[in-house]
Amino acid sequence: MSTAFTPVSHKMSARDVSVAYGDNQAVKNVSIDIDMDKVTAFIGPSGCGKSTFLRTLNRMNDTIPSARVTGEILLDGENIYSADMDVVQLRARVGMVFQKPNPFPKSIFENVAYGPRIHGLATSRADLEAIVERSLKRAGLWEEVKDRLSDSGTALSGGQQQRLCIARAIAVDPEVILMDEPASALDPIATAKIEELIHELRGRYAIVIVTHNMQQAARVSQRTAFFHLGQLVEYGETDNIFTAPRQERTKDYITGRYG
């Protein structure tokens, strides 16, 4: 099922998307709209297909040979699974932050500069340095690392590493940022920082965050989608989902009956 929002032209729209790994149907007929300036949270119990669905939004599932995606996903009205869509270009527009912080084993500077460099976004060294500084500032990491940009990115703490990964994602100036349980490997203080950061980034990007922490979904998102057994059960304003769910299954989940 789907829920339509105004405005009519959505940043991303999924229509009847199904994903199968071999014979295993992981996502079934999901239709959903994602808009700019909003944080959309995907919640649901483990194995409900929310991460799988998230990965279809920038075609990261392409790397899994057995995964088959049907239906269509539109980015600014253009089907990202069509033959003339360039995957490399797509992933520059739809960035991704993963569950486990995965900085490159290179310097902090190189971590952030890598994306702009391969996409040719900087014309000079000064340009590149400006992009790195801006990205680290937006990710709220600049003050902590500005004096040691040449240190290895893997030497940072877990929370700092995750913010470095966010800086790396926003350095290529994406339109949408996908976050796959970005705080699940972090301690509460680091988690709070990430959530704060998501708030600050909201105005610039469409953000989609997968989480199995319902409080987190309530705190950071404006819209929430509840997945169960590969289906999108309910999608709506976060306040409504948590206070007045329309579906019985949603209610059971958020009241802790299963999950």
């Binding site: 490399v88 992933r91 993963f98 486990k100 391969i118 994602a169």
Partner: protein, 413 residues
């Protein structure tokens, strides 16, 4: 309960003693090997020379001065009887058997001295000439009593000079053990290794990348994997036969004869054959190293829009490099010590001039060792050991380079 704990500790101790014993045993073997090689080989790096007083003018030796600066100088000196003059000088200086004390090549030393300084023709002088193998052996305590007595007499007279054998490092094979050198074989080995590396490393690493990162997982790639694993275990002499048949063989197709593709006995054909031999080792090691790179790094790079080839060359390959280099070095070390396949493709020839390029006839260190170990003359025993020491030194240098490169590429996580 107490007894069980005691038994566990006893088992622990037993295991540790066994482990330490194994280490000590292998260290002892290694030490024994090194000791025998050094003990026998060190004399290979030394020369025994005799101080030969000679007066060519008094001996009636005459050659036109003008001819000494021409290319025909060697011929002029030889035809004027320089060899006889040297032998006569040895007889008068060292006694009736003097001619047998100096090496057959001794007169060439004098020839070189005369060309350098023609004044030698006019006055009495003392030249250091290499001693004969028999003399050298007697000095090492292995000769007839008569020869030993002669050695002792000349030593007392201060006519025996020992020194470092530069010839051994700068010359090539010879029939006379005092005149042999390792340089030809060493250069042959280095050229062969260069060819092997240039072919096996890129092809092996690219195969591994393709199989690991691009190839679909199906029955064909399974078959390829099994074949590669089997190839790594094929006896090396089979690769020699392959190289012989493919690179040196000829085919008659439609009345026209094709081949051989590569020159015989050359580092080129040896290098290609050894490359075929070590490629499976490099492929297997590289695949394991590539497999060891965490998938999260690939995700990270793909997630910001790197193309698959950028993922491989910017991230996966640098992280896999230490493992790839380790595998490559194991393969190269195996190739460096390989004898059997090279015998089949003609690299066992008697080569007296070092190869100038990869297409010149050459031999390699292990084959040279094999050839010398087959020689009858006792003088070759220490040369064989000395050559083994050179081979070990090259091996150590190669491994040292590998360790240096590995540490350079090693990432701190």
């Amino acid at each position: 309960m107490q007894r069980r704990i005691r038994r566990r500790y006893a088992a622990e101790r037993r295991f540790r003693v066994l482990g330490a014993g194994a280490v000590i045993l292998s260290a002892a073997f290694l030490g024994f090997l090194l000791f025998t090689m050094v003990a026998q080989g060190w004399r290979g790096f030394t020369t025994t020379e005799l101080a030969l007083p000679i007066d060519l003018h008094a001996a009636g030796f005459h050659v036109e001065r003008a001819r000494l600066n021409t290319p025909a100088a060697d011929l002029a000196l030889a035809s004027a009887g320089l060899e006889d003059a040297v032998e006569n000088a040895a007889t008068s200086a060292f006694g009736p058997d003097g001619a047998t004390l100096i090496a057959p090549s001794a007169w060439t030393v004098l020839r070189a001295a005369v060309k350098r300084d023609p004044a030698i023709l006019e006055r009495r002088t003392v030249v250091r000439v290499p001693a004969s193998t028999a003399f050298d052996r007697a000095l090492a305590g292995e000769g007839t009593p008569a020869m030993k007595a002669t050695v002792a007499r000349l030593q007392r007279a201060g006519m025996v000079v020992r020194g470092f054998n530069w010839t051994f490092l700068s010359e090539s094979d010879s029939t006379d053990p005092v005149a042999v050198g390792i340089w030809g074989a060493l250069k042959g080995s280095l050229l062969t290794m260069a060819i092997t590396f240039l072919i096996a490393f890129p092809v092996g690493v690219l195969s591994a990348i393709y199989l690991e990162e691009y190839a679909p997982k199906n029955r064909w790639t399974d078959l390829i994997e099994v074949s590669i694993n089997n190839l790594a275990a094929v006896p090396s002499i089979i690769f020699g036969l392959l190289g012989l048949a493919v690179f040196l063989g000829t085919w008659e197709i439609g009345g026209r004869v094709f081949g051989p593709m590569l020159p015989r006995s050359a580092p080129l054909v040896g290098g290609v054959t050894l490359a075929l031999m070590i490629m499976p080792v490099i492929v297997i090691a590289s695949r394991n190293a590539i497999k060891g790179v965490p998938p999260s790094i690939r995700d990270a790079a793909l997630g910001i829009g790197a193309s698959p080839i950028q993922v491989v060359f910017h991230h996966v390959l640098p992280l896999a490099m230490p493992g790839i280099l380790t595998g490559t070095i194991i393969g190269m070390a195996r190739a460096l010590g390989e004898t059997a396949p090279l015998l089949l493709i003609g690299m066992r020839a008697f080569i007296v001039t070092p190869p100038d390029g990869v297409t010149d006839p050459a031999t390699v260190l292990p084959v040279q060792i094999f050839l010398w170990s087959d020689e009858v003359s006792r003088g070759f025993v220490e040369k064989t050991s000395a050559a083994i020491l050179v081979l070990l030194a090259v091996l150590l240098a190669m491994n040292g380079l590998a360790i240096y490169l590995r540490n350079k590429f090693e990432t701190r996580w």
